[in-house]
């Protein structure tokens, strides 16, 4: 069955997901997976949706236009198989806390990109002038962990940030009832 990736952004109000899901249902679609969040009063949702037969992405756009009763931005495309060879990785959590200023996330993510470290999940927030970044990343097993930690801590110091990189299992162990997978 063909699968489609949709991303919808709109001003937040109640009822948006009901309208999106009605449109997809009427197109014969089945939602396989979705994430949604609200940031700065704007709604954003990503959907992975399968249909019985191939659907023109334009028809999806038109159907959503009929159903969703407010302005929205939509990106829709047919899902292509992954182009990257999967690597052996482990999940680490990076936390960065320090005084807010432009360029922090750029510095962090440029470094991660240079090491081919993929970001799986990222959250940032600013509270009382303090910028916080928490990201979960997949670190290839071939990389030397102590080098990465040293680099991050050093670049954190230059930016007056506290930076830490810890294996996800310590967060699972302290916050969930299960233990993480032994590595």
């Amino acid at each position: 069955m063909p699968e489609y990736i949709l991303s919808v952004v709109a001003r937040d109000r109640s009822g948006i997901i009901a309208e999106i899901s009605a449109a997809l249902f009427e197109l014969g679609g089945n939602i396989l997976s979705a994430t949604q969040s609200v940031l700065g009063d704007y709604f954003a949702m990503m959907i992975l949706c399968a249909t019985r037969a191939a659907v023109d992405p334009k028809d999806i756009r038109d159907k959503l236009g009929e159903r969703v009763r407010s302005e929205f931005d939509l990106f829709v495309t047919e899902r292509q198989p992954a182009s990257i060879e999967p690597m052996e990785t482990q999940t680490f959590v990076i936390t960065l806390i320090g005084p807010d200023r432009p360029g922090i996330l750029h510095a962090l993510t440029s470094y991660l990109a240079s090491k081919q470290i993929n970001i799986d999940d990222l959250r940032c927030q600013t509270t009382e002038g303090e910028f916080l970044v928490i990201c979960q990343v997949s670190v290839p097993n071939e990389l030397d962990l102590s080098m990465l930690q040293a680099d991050l801590e050093e670049s954190g110091r230059e930016l007056q940030f506290t930076a830490h990189m810890q294996h996800e299992n310590v967060f699972i162990a302290t916050n969930e009832l299960r233990f993480g997978r032994a590595t």
């Binding site: 830490h164 810890q166 162990a173 302290t174």
Partner: protein, 456 residues
């Protein structure tokens, strides 16, 4: 996916609240080194320690870095050395202790426990040799820790051995007088000694524990204190809420200990043994059991309410820890080592905490009258009397108790002594009735096992 607030609370525990792993202790059985030629025995012991523990420190540091959780102490717990001394004489005990000392230094571990004799009902020739050698061994070695089990709920109290322990303590103190009797800090006497305790000076590997094992001592009191302060900063809380907060914190602390322990064991290809839930303070400010009690409203540790507060703390730590791990063992309670806990040392200095109150407090926690500085002229019988009282609490309440007493040569009650490092320092505490009741100790013999020893 992990939640932001959960990640942040873990980071806070790790970075600013002293969350660490207090001890990774590798148990090593050295009974297969036994033989009639003590030189060969020593060679085998050195070989077994250096081969088994060669990578202990490196692996602990590697796993600690992965989680950014420091492993503060890496230690060894050996099977009782008295077993290797059967058929040998005093010089063999000294040689053996020196061999252990050298091997322990080579693997860069700070202490090894196991200069141990289990004599709750009587002494074998090898155990007699070990006990007689204690003063010289405690003087001649730096990294060897000793323990004697003088009593158990099954056997009662071996009062002959208790009497001897008093004399041995005096002799160790005299031999290490230039270090304020520090040799005594490396000897603990027990009732119901646990075979899997990862904490010094009482760690040793009991029978039935396998050839090698990794046991863990979880983090210290700093995390619990911070959690209570955070709870109470939001307004007053009931003792029930305080107990809940301690349980929750103990759960998280225990989880970190077990996570690290299991991974170290896996890397070293050694079975994982137990997690010991004990809250072990250090002299550092913010890492004190006394400060936890203070956060609970006990402004003067040793004053009325102290025992009840400690009982609540000890119980809540166990409940939280037990849910976190199916491998809880060792001592698993709060420690009240006076010289190693700056807050308790201050309470003793201000005379809020007396020796008698400390004894009462140890009936509801582990492990006992620990790191207590006493006047240097305390008679051996008085030391034995203090030991007998403490062991009776253990024997008759079916729990582990212990005494680590340091009679400081040339010092009297109120004088200050500083050992430095993890051993801290504090005032010499006064003993009520010094020299009295010596006849009781001199009677010797065995205090019979209590009624509840017959449980079948």
């Amino acid at each position: 996916m992990l939640r932001t607030d959960e990640i942040l609370s873990t980071v806070r525990m790790l970075q600013s609240e002293h969350l660490d792993v207090r001890a990774v202790t590798m148990g090593i059985d050295i009974n297969d080194c036994a033989g009639p030629n003590i030189d060969l025995v020593c060679r085998k012991v050195r070989h077994k320690i250096t081969s088994r523990a060669a990578r202990l420190v490196e692996v602990c540091d590697e796993i600690g870095a992965k989680y950014q959780v420091p492993v503060v102490n890496k230690r060894l717990a050996l099977s009782p050395l008295s077993l290797l001394l059967e058929g040998h004489a005093m010089p063999a005990a000294i040689d053996l202790a020196r061999a252990v000392d050298t091997a322990v230094e080579k693997v860069a571990v700070d202490f090894a426990g196991g200069f141990t004799a289990l004599v709750e009902r009587g002494e074998t020739p090898g155990q007699k040799v070990l006990i007689r050698a204690l003063p010289e061994v405690m003087q001649a070695t730096r990294r060897v820790c000793a323990s004697l089990n003088l009593a158990s709920s099954k056997a009662g109290i071996n009062m002959n051995a208790v009497g001897e322990a008093g004399r041995v303590l005096r002799a160790i103190a005299e031999r290490t007088a230039d270090q304020n009797g520090f040799g005594c800090a490396k000897l603990v006497v027990f009732a119901n000694i646990p075979p899997d305790n990862p904490f010094m000076a009482g760690a040793y590997l009991g029978t039935g524990q396998g050839d090698a094992v990794i046991n863990i001592g979880v983090s210290g009191p700093g995390v619990v204190k911070s959690a209570l302060q955070r709870l109470l900063s939001g307004g007053p809380a009931s003792l029930h809420e305080i107990a809940e907060q301690i349980k929750l914190t103990a759960f998280r602390v225990t989880r970190v200990g077990e996570l690290i322990g299991r991974e170290v064991a896996l890397k070293l290809r050694v079975p994982f043994g137990i997690v010991d839930l004990s809250l072990a303070p250090t002299p550092e400010v913010g890492d004190s059991v006394g400060e936890i009690l203070q956060a609970m409203g006990i402004s003067s540790v040793g004053g009325p309410g102290s025992t009840a507060a400690l009982a609540l703390l000890n119980d809540a730590v166990k409940k939280g820890g037990l849910f976190a791990s199916s491998s809880v063992g060792g001592l698993s309670g709060a420690f009240v080592p006076v010289s190693e806990d700056a807050h308790l040392a201050r309470a003793a200095r201000e005379k809020a905490l007396s020796l008698e109150k400390l004894e009462a407090m140890t009936s509801v926690c582990s492990v006992g009258i620990d790191m207590v500085l006493l006047p240097g002229d305390t008679p051996a019988e008085t030391l034995s009397g203090i030991i007998a009282d403490e062991l009776a609490i253990g024997v008759f309440n079916n729990k582990t108790t212990a005494a680590r007493l340091i009679p400081v040569p040339g010092k009297k009650a109120g004088d200050e002594v500083a050992f430095g490092g993890l051993f801290g320092g504090g005032p010499v505490m006064a003993i009520r009735g010094t020299g009295e009741n010596s006849d009781f100790i001199r009677q010797g013999g065995q205090i019979p096992a209590p009624l509840h020893s017959l449980r079948n």
